[in-house]
């Protein structure tokens, strides 16, 4: 693959810090606040429904530096979830009877204990999902990962912004599309996405400052085009709105488009999407064990509200399910248009 861009952290950008991002977002004049939008939908204060997904961010190391990455992940990041946190996550998964473990990063497979986490979570009976960038599995020493995922019936949720190289490489780096196709072929060869029960989902983010279109319509186009061009098959396409934080926020700032983009998100507020936002059924764990309402709040260094357990070491399901969810202007990214979440568009249905 081509050149890897430095992370915001490596560049010494002020926006590498979550607090600086929150300050910047708070200064943008918007038509209304997210709290006001929620009030108009009778959803304020925003509260969880039930915790169905434990999403663990096992670290910020990645072999790619995508321009929109909300984690500011990259090869120069050293944050890796330590053993005691992993043990606490698996313990909470078991004792709280959480149905799904969603493993994210960074590139999660670069974590030295990734294989063990998958095997142990699957042995607990959890449905395991893996956020895959499609290229880390091609690296030396990681070629066994696809077979491991298949052996444990892990659902693979893979990022691919578009079915063509130009758009994909513009967002993810030169040569990433070609490598991603190789990764998809390996997964297809193992039976992923071929209809036999090994689920392969794709996730697309717009390559620019526009909103994603209809998830169902795009899925039809993507299935047709990936089959026709590359004989690749997959199960579902999830559309995710670019979140105005971290590297995408830095991009918006560089382009002078922050206010324009935020305003578009605010004006596209959809009450049905708000009712189905992922923070209502997901608990997010940072690499150091801190608890967050979602992976976006995690990157903004905005933990769960005071008064409830704030680390995985003292997590307690009932208390966490009664918390008020922390919100900010960035939340409009999850409620614009058809809505957006780690499971794709949320209006009408959270997960298929």
């Amino acid at each position: 693959m081509g050149r890897v861009l430095p992370t915001l952290r490596k560049q010494g950008s002020p926006l590498a810090a979550g607090a600086a991002q929150r300050d910047l977002l708070a200064r943008i004049p918007l038509p209304r606040s997210f709290a006001d939008a929620l009030r108009s939908s009778d959803l304020y204060p925003l509260r969880p429904t039930t915790i169905e997904i434990l999403q663990i961010n096992v670290g910020k190391r990645c072999n790619q530096t995508c321009r929109h990455c909300h984690v500011d992940a990259g090869p120069d990041r050293v944050e890796v979830m330590p053993r005691p946190v992993i043990e606490a996550c698996l313990s909470f998964l078991e004792r709280a009877h959480i149905p799904t473990l969603d493993i994210t990063g960074g590139a999660p497979e670069l974590h030295p204990d990734f294989r063990e986490i998958v095997a142990r979570a699957a042995a607990l009976g959890a449905h395991v999902t893996h956020r895959c960038n499609l290229t880390a599995i091609l690296l030396p020493n990681y070629a066994d990962i696809p077979a491991l995922l298949a052996a444990h019936r892990v659902e693979v949720i893979a990022s691919l912004p578009y079915y063509q190289a130009r758009q994909t490489d513009a967002q993810r780096g030169e040569g990433v599309f070609e490598a991603s196709i190789v990764g998809l072929r390996r997964l297809n060869a193992l039976g992923y996405g071929r209809g036999g029960g090994l689920i392969l989902d794709l996730v697309t983010n717009p390559v620019g400052t526009y909103l994603p279109g209809s998830q169902a319509a795009l899925e039809r186009d993507w299935k047709r085009e990936l089959k026709r061009r590359h004989d690749i098959e997959f199960d579902h396409l999830y559309t995710i709105t670019n979140m105005p934080i971290s590297r995408f926020l830095a991009f918006l700032e560089d382009e002078g488009r922050t206010e324009q983009y935020l305003t578009r998100l605010v004006n596209a507020y959809n009450p049905r999407a708000a009712a189905g936002v992922m923070c209502r059924n997901t608990l997010s764990v940072g690499w150091d064990g801190t608890l967050y309402d979602c992976d976006f709040n995690q990157m903004l260094e905005l933990p769960v509200s005071a008064g409830v357990p704030r680390t995985i070491f003292d997590a307690e399901r009932a208390a966490l399910e009664s918390r008020d969810i922390e919100i900010g202007p960035h939340c409009f990214g999850c409620t614009a248009g058809a809505g957006s979440s780690c499971g794709g568009a949320v209006a009408g249905l959270f997960r298929r």
């Binding site: 758009q167 717009p206 526009y210 209809s214």
Partner: protein
């Protein structure tokens, strides 16, 4: 009269709905019909956005070009498809001029010996 250096202002596009000020019922009928036209039907919403983009170029409406460039991207079209749509509009515009040359030929034939 306020000082407006151009007839077209991009910030006027989101004000389209204000057209109801002079004829509320007509505006409602127009926007209801407009919404129905662009909903998924025998043609997909993506195909309709590409048609709209092409027509926007044919009628040379900067508001429509702004709106449907974005809409075509959001519906999943790519630059190659959008450019081909604009070429279709350009070909029809060019062809519609050229085909009138047959009328010219008719006149030339009638006037000539």
């Amino acid at each position: 009269m306020p000082d407006r250096p151009h007839y077209y202002h991009h910030h006027d596009l989101p004000r389209f709905g204000e057209i109801k000020r002079g004829a509320r019922e007509l505006a409602k009928k127009f926007f209801d019909w407009y919404g129905a036209v662009f909903s998924e039907g025998a043609l997909t919403a993506r195909e309709k956005a590409l048609i709209a983009l092409a027509v926007a170029h044919a009628v040379q409406c900067p508001y429509c070009i702004d709106a449907y460039s974005r809409d075509a991207l959001e519906k999943g079209s790519n630059l190659e498809q959008m450019t081909e749509a604009v070429h279709v509009a350009a070909a029809i515009r060019g062809g519609s001029s050229l085909v009138h040359g047959v009328q010219m030929l008719n006149h030339v034939d009638e006037l000539g010996m």
